[in-house]
Symmetry: C2
C-alpha cells in the first residue's frame, strides 16, 4: 500500500507534533451532502447502501472531495454486528433502527453466535479494503464499531428508546444474563475491529453512544469494563504503524479521567465540557477529539470561526487534539458551513503548533 501523504490524524491521536490541528466530522459522509443523497437514492435503502462496498466507498470519499479533511471514516451502520448475529435489522422512516427479533430472554442470548467477519460481515471488510485502495494514501481511514453496551441496548430494546427500560431492567434484575450478552458482544467487537485493521483501517473508534445514560457504577460495570477488554484484544499495529483507538462516550464527561486509563489513545468529548477542563481531567495521558456543538454549523461563517477559535484555544498549545463536532453533523446543515469550519480549524490552529514552542503559549493568538 502507498505511504500516507497526510498522517496528521495519526500523529495527533498519538500526541506527536503536527503543524496544524487535524479535523474530520462524525457523519461526514451523510445526508447533508447532495451527492450522498444521490448515491443513496441509487442504492435504494440506507441498508442497501451499507451493504454495497462500491457505493459505501463512494460515499466515504465524497466529503474528502469537498473539504480538505484529515481523515476518512468507513461508511457503515453501528448495528451491523447484531444484524449479522441474526436479529434482523431494519429501518423505519423517521424512527431509526429496529430489530425483527430483539433479545428477550436467556435462550435468545445463548443462541447468539459470533459472526464470521469475512462471511456475514464480509461486505464491511470489502468496503474497508476498497476505501483504503481508493484513498491511495491521501488521509488515514478510521474503522469503527458500537460499544458492547450500546449494541446491547438496541438488541434488548429492539429499537431506539429514551428510557432504556428493558435494557436497564435486564441489567438490574438479571445481571448475569446482561453480562453474558456483553461478553459475547465484546468478543464480536474485538474480532470486527481486528478484521477492519487487517483490511486496512489505520485508526479505530468505539462509539459508546449510550454509556452516558448509566449511573457511574453501571457505566464502569456495563460499558467501560467491556471496552477495556476489547482494547486488550485489539491489533494495535498496521504495516508497522501504531493503530490509535478512540473511545467516545456521549455524555461521559464525568468519567473522562477513568476512561483515560482504559488503554485507549484518545477520548471523544461532547460539547458539554470545555476542552481545556477535559485536558486537565485526563492530564495529557490521552489525546482528545472534539468538541464543537454541531448546532454552531447553523450560524454564520464568522460566528463559526469564533466558536472554532474558542475550542482550539480551550485545548491550548501542543499536539493531542483532533478537531471534530461533539456529535454527528445534522442532516440540514449547509455544506458551505462545514467548509467554513474546516478552513477555520486549519488556519486558526497553526499558531498552537509551533514545534519549538510546544507546551508554552502560542506566539500568535488566534
Amino acid at each position: 500500500m502507498t505511504d500516507l501523504k497526510n498522517d496528521k490524524l495519526l500523529r495527533a491521536l498519538l500526541r506527536q507534533p503536527v503543524d496544524y490541528t487535524p479535523v474530520w466530522m462524525m457523519r461526514q459522509a451523510g445526508r447533508y451532502l447532495p451527492e450522498y443523497r444521490a448515491t443513496r437514492a441509487r442504492a435504494g435503502s440506507f441498508l442497501d447502501l451499507c451493504r454495497n462496498p462500491e457505493l459505501a466507498c463512494e460515499v466515504t470519499l465524497q466529503p474528502l472531495e469537498r473539504f480538505p479533511l484529515d481523515a476518512a471514516i468507513l461508511f457503515s451502520d453501528i448495528l451491523t454486528i447484531p444484524d449479522a448475529m441474526g436479529l434482523g435489522l431494519y429501518f423505519t422512516e423517521g424512527e431509526g433502527p429496529r430489530f425483527e427479533r430483539p433479545i428477550r430472554d436467556a435462550s435468545d442470548v445463548r443462541r447468539l453466535a459470533i459472526p464470521d467477519m469475512e462471511d456475514e460481515l464480509g461486505y464491511v471488510m470489502d468496503a474497508v479494503g476498497l476505501i483504503r485502495r481508493e484513498l491511495d494514501g491521501r488521509v488515514p481511514l478510521i474503522g469503527f464499531s458500537g460499544s458492547p453496551w450500546t449494541l446491547a441496548t438496541y438488541m434488548v430494546e429492539g429499537r431506539s428508546t429514551k428510557s432504556f427500560a428493558r435494557a436497564k431492567a435486564m441489567a438490574f434484575d438479571c445481571p448475569e444474563l446482561m453480562h453474558e450478552l456483553l461478553a459475547k458482544l465484546s468478543e464480536a467487537v474485538a474480532a470486527y475491529l481486528n478484521a477492519q485493521v487487517a483490511r486496512g483501517a489505520q485508526a479505530l473508534m468505539i462509539f459508546d453512544t449510550w454509556g452516558g445514560v448509566l449511573t457511574p457504577r453501571a457505566f464502569r460495570e456495563l460499558s467501560l469494563d467491556y471496552m477495556i477488554r476489547i482494547l486488550s484484544r485489539l491489533t494495535r499495529e498496521e504495516a508497522g504503524r501504531r493503530v490509535p483507538v478512540i473511545l467516545f462516550t456521549k455524555g461521559g464527561g464525568n468519567w473522562l479521567s477513568q476512561m483515560a486509563g482504559s488503554g485507549c489513545d484518545a477520548l471523544g468529548v461532547d460539547w458539554t465540557l470545555d476542552l481545556g477542563d477535559a485536558r486537565r481531567l485526563v492530564q495529557d495521558r490521552v489525546a482528545l477529539q472534539g468538541n464543537l456543538d454541531p448546532c454552531v454549523l447553523y450560524a454564520s461563517p464568522e460566528r463559526i470561526r469564533e466558536e472554532v477559535a474558542r475550542v482550539i484555544a480551550s485545548y491550548g498549545p501542543g499536539s493531542g487534539h483532533v478537531f471534530n463536532l461533539g456529535h454527528g453533523i445534522n442532516p440540514d446543515v449547509d455544506p458551505d458551513r462545514a467548509a467554513a469550519m474546516v478552513e477555520a480549524v486549519h488556519s486558526l490552529s497553526r499558531p498552537f503548533h509551533d514545534a519549538e514552542d510546544r507546551g508554552g503559549s502560542p506566539r500568535h493568538q488566534a
Copy 2:
C-alpha cells in the same frame, strides 16, 4: 391555614435536622397510577386535566393516598406560560407537546406579553389554592415552573426536538433576540412562581430540563444567568416560613458547583453522578435532591432496596438530602415498586440522621 404536620421536606431543603430522609417522586401524579388514568379519562385530554383545578387537585393528592410521601407537587404542565402567552399549546399522541404558533422572528418575540397570573393562568393558581386546602397540612406543597431556556426551546422549536437546531441557531446567530425572549420569560416565571407562593406553595422547583444540551458557556449565559435573575425576584417566605427553591438541570452534573452559588437552596441531581461526589462539589452550600435511576423501579423490591441504600449511603450522614428519582417516574412502572422505594428510603435513612451524631459516621450502616 393549618400547621404543617410533616415538614421534613422543608427542613431537609434548608439542611436542618430531620429524623429520616424525606422522599417524593417527579411525576408522582402520573400515568403509572390507575387512579390517575381514570381521572384523566374523565377529564378528557391531558390539557383539560391541567386546566380543571378540581381534577388537578384530585390527581395531585392520589399518590399521597397510596404512599407515605413527604411532599405534594402541583399537577400541571411546564408549558402553561408560553400557552398563556398565546402560542397555542397542544399535544399529539406519543409525540409530546407542540405549539400552533412557535416563535420564528423578532416580531413574534416582541408581541409576547407577560400573562396575567390570576386571569390567563388563574386555573393554575386556583389549583394551588385548592390543593393546599385539601392537603390540610399533611405535607408541604411544591410549586414549579420550567426554566426560561427550557421554555424558550419549546417556543422556538414548536415541539420536542433532539438537536435543538432552531433554538441554538437563534442563540448563535441572533443572540440579542434570544436574550430578549429569555428576559421576558424570566419576568413571567418569577411572577408565576410568586403567584403560586401567594396561593400557598411552600417550596418551589425550577425544571431546567434542557440546560444540559448546552456548552458550559452557553449554559451560563442562556440558562443559569436567567435562573439567578428569577431567584433574586422570588418571594422567599410564606406564612413566616422560608420557601426553599430547588434548581434542577438535567445533565447538569458538570455545573453543580456554579449552580450552588446561584442563590437557590437545593439542586436536583440526575443519576449520572454519585450523590457523594455531588455533595463534595457543592461543599454543603445547598441541599441535594435525587438521584435514583428511574429504571431501578423495574427491578425486584430487594434490588430496589439495595439501590436505595446505595444512594443514601453515597450522600452520607446529616441532613440536606431529599430522596427522589433522577427523572420522572416511567408510566409503565408497577406502583408497588414505588411503594417499595418509599418504604426503603424511610427505613434505611434513619441511621444517617442521629441528631447527636451529625457529621460523623452513622451508627448502624444500612
